[in-house]
Amino acid sequence: MARTVPGVLASFVHVDSATEAIAALRAQGRTDMTVYSAAPNHEIEEALGFTNSPVRLFTLVGGLTGCTAGFAMTIWMSRDWPLLVGGKPIGAIPPYVVLAFELTILIGALSTVAGLLLLSLMKSTRGLAYDPAFTDDRIGIFVPAAADQAAALEQMFRAAGAEEVRYAA
């Protein structure tokens, strides 16, 4: 059975209530909260102080790798099996631009997805309390906490306007 992370799970109907709770948690110096929402929301992102996702590095490196691989493959293979076509050079660059372009896109896209999977898996959601309503219309905030901290957190969440607060252990 999956290990459960003890903590407090709050459910919100209103986005401003959720951002108020996030701000209160951040004011306490907490960065270990997990916020659930059915769609990305700019107010939540701002409250959490999001920085740019490093997934773009995967796109860049993948694209550059694809481009290099495209030119390297076509030039090397042409020289390995020299085939004179229409009096053109063996390693003719203009037609190979098409292949390098396609591989730039292909490897760039695949490495973006690989980056997405890797970065998402780096912060595991295993064992965190969750509610199916979070993919519907509720916003959830989970904070890992020991039983003795639960009452204070519940009070803070209720004050912010949480609809429901429960302790998961």
Binding site: V13, H14, V15, D16, S17, T34, V35, Y36, S37, A38, A39, P40, N41, H42, I44, E45, F50, N52, S53, V55, T59, G63, M73, T74, M77, S78, D80, W81, L83, V85, G86, K88, A92, P95, V98, L99, F101, E102, L103, I105, L106, G108, A109, L110, T112, V113, L116, L119, S120, K123, T125, L128, Y130, P132, A133, F134, T135, D136, D137, I139
Partner: protein, 448 residues
């Protein structure tokens, strides 16, 4: 004043969006099963024809010198073109933050994937010895041979392969949050299926942070891709010196034609689909009006391209070009030439009228004309150009045979089968993206 999606769905809440889309995943009705059965039947006709082609060879199809590219290559270009509207709507309009794409993009993206899957079969059918199709790929072999990368046909292998992979990736990535939403609402075998397909998605801040960026970059990569794919397909023709093919206009002409045909197919699919799945309140006049405007724009570009093709043939003073274009309009296959011009250049001009753009019956009929016209456009470009090249003694007209029609019918069955199965199994409207356009409730009044 411009209409936003939210103004279009003023009464919808996040919960209603989830409920309405998840409701489309219920048990299929009799009409759906009949349609699916018909699609499978058409596919089986195509499969049986393919078995006959494997056994007897390409002689069964109407290949007659000098026309050695005919219905299969025509249909290949047709299906690749269909895919383009999907990527335009899902990726390019995403980058432009166009609000009307949200409700329709999932169905169009699925159409793209299935259309490209269909298109990919045709070069394999066409090559004759289908069991050697892997010779197209650069792999180490005992004869130390590599493909000729200077050939546009090799560019095509890479372009279509990349297009299929990237559009499938884009569709699947877009589906993950929606499948998770369906998982949390369903029971039974569907819940199990969606649990696997949602790969642990819970909509956490960390997941959204990387997801939104990754989706943006995928759209940014798919945008130049969609423009390149049909350009590469057009170069299969334009790089050769066959009169009627050797034109610098070909790449933009093909891209516009592809989007035109794709939007036509989107309309053919969406108009009955919204009724069957009871999505009238999500996909309405506003969306169809915009799709029709896209059809009008690309149809007008085609009008211009057709006119330019004839003008350049005349102005070039090249007797071969002039003969080819004369015979397109007045030669033995004049009917194909005029079908293309009437269905594409003229019928699309009806869409200047808002009344027609917002009349779904009229739009559906126009979309059928578009599908027919665009298939004939490729037939005219390929078959009629090849039937009269440089030497009049070598001219010849090909007549399609049952093997050509069987495979064509099979391709429609194959495509429709996948589309119908998708529409009942996965959310056909993007739940998460619609929710993004509807503001979340606030406790305190006042804008953010």
């Amino acid at each position: 004043m411009a209409t936003t999606v939210h103004e279009y769905h003023p009464t919808q809440t996040h919960h209603e969006v989830t409920r309405d889309v998840v409701n489309t995943l219920g048990t299929a009705g009799r009409g759906y099963m009949l349609l699916l059965g018909f699609a499978v039947f058409c596919f089986l006709v195509g499969a049986a024809t393919f078995v006959a082609l494997l056994k007897e060879g390409l002689g069964l199809a109407g290949y007659t010198p000098p026309v050695m590219w005919s219905v299969y290559i025509t249909t290949f270009v047709f299906w690749v073109g269909i895919g383009h509207a999907g990527t335009l709507i899902s990726a390019i309009l995403f980058l432009f933050r166009s609000p009307w794409r949200t409700a329709v993009y999932r169905a169009t993206e699925a159409m793209t994937v299935f259309a490209v899957m269909t298109a990919g079969l045709f070069p394999i059918i066409h090559i004759g010895r289908q069991w050697f199709f892997y010779w197209l790929l650069p792999y180490p072999n005992q004869r130390y041979l590599w493909p000729n990368f200077k050939s546009p046909l090799m560019w095509d292998v890479f372009a279509i392969g990349t297009y299929l992979t990237v559009s499938t990736t884009f569709l699947v990535v877009g589906l993950v949050p929606d499948v998770a939403a369906a998982r949390d609402q369903m029971q039974g075998w569907r819940k199990k299926l969606y649990e696997i397909c949602s790969i642990g998605w819970k909509g956490t801040d960390n997941q959204w942070r990387h997801y939104t960026r990754a989706y943006l970059y995928l759209a940014a990569l798919a945008t130049p891709l969609v423009l390149s794919v049909h350009s590469v397909v057009s170069w299969d023709f334009a790089v050769s010196i066959v009169p009627g093919w050797h034109g610098t206009i070909f790449a933009p002409y093909f891209v516009a034609g592809a989007i035109y045909s794709g939007v036509g197919m989107v309309l053919t699919l969406l108009i009955p689909l919204r009724k069957a799945l009871k999505l009238e309140h999500m996909i309405g006049e506003y969306h169809f009006d915009n799709l029709a405007k896209l059809l009008l724009l690309t149809g007008s570009i085609l009008f211009y391209a057709y006119a330019m093709e004839y003008f350049v043939a005349w102005y070039s003073g090249n007797a071969f070009e002039q003969t080819t274009f004369w015979r397109r309009a007045f030669g033995p296959q004049w009917w194909a030439g005029w079908t293309m011009i009437i269905c594409n250049a003229f019928v699309s001009q009806l869409l200047w009228f808002r009344k027609i753009r917002t009349n779904l019956t009229a739009l559906f009929i126009i979309s059928i004309f578009v599908n027919i016209g665009m298939w004939f456009e490729r037939y005219v470009i390929i078959v009629s150009s090849l039937s009269n090249d440089f030497e009049p003694w070598a001219w010849g007209v090909m007549t399609p045979t049952w093997a050509d029609w069987g495979i064509l019918l099979g391709s429609f069955g194959w495509f429709s089968m996948y589309f119908l199965l998708f529409a009942r199994t996965f959310p056909v409207v993007a739940i998460q993206e619609i929710k993004e356009t509807i503001p979340m409730p606030r406790r305190r009044k006042g804008a953010h």
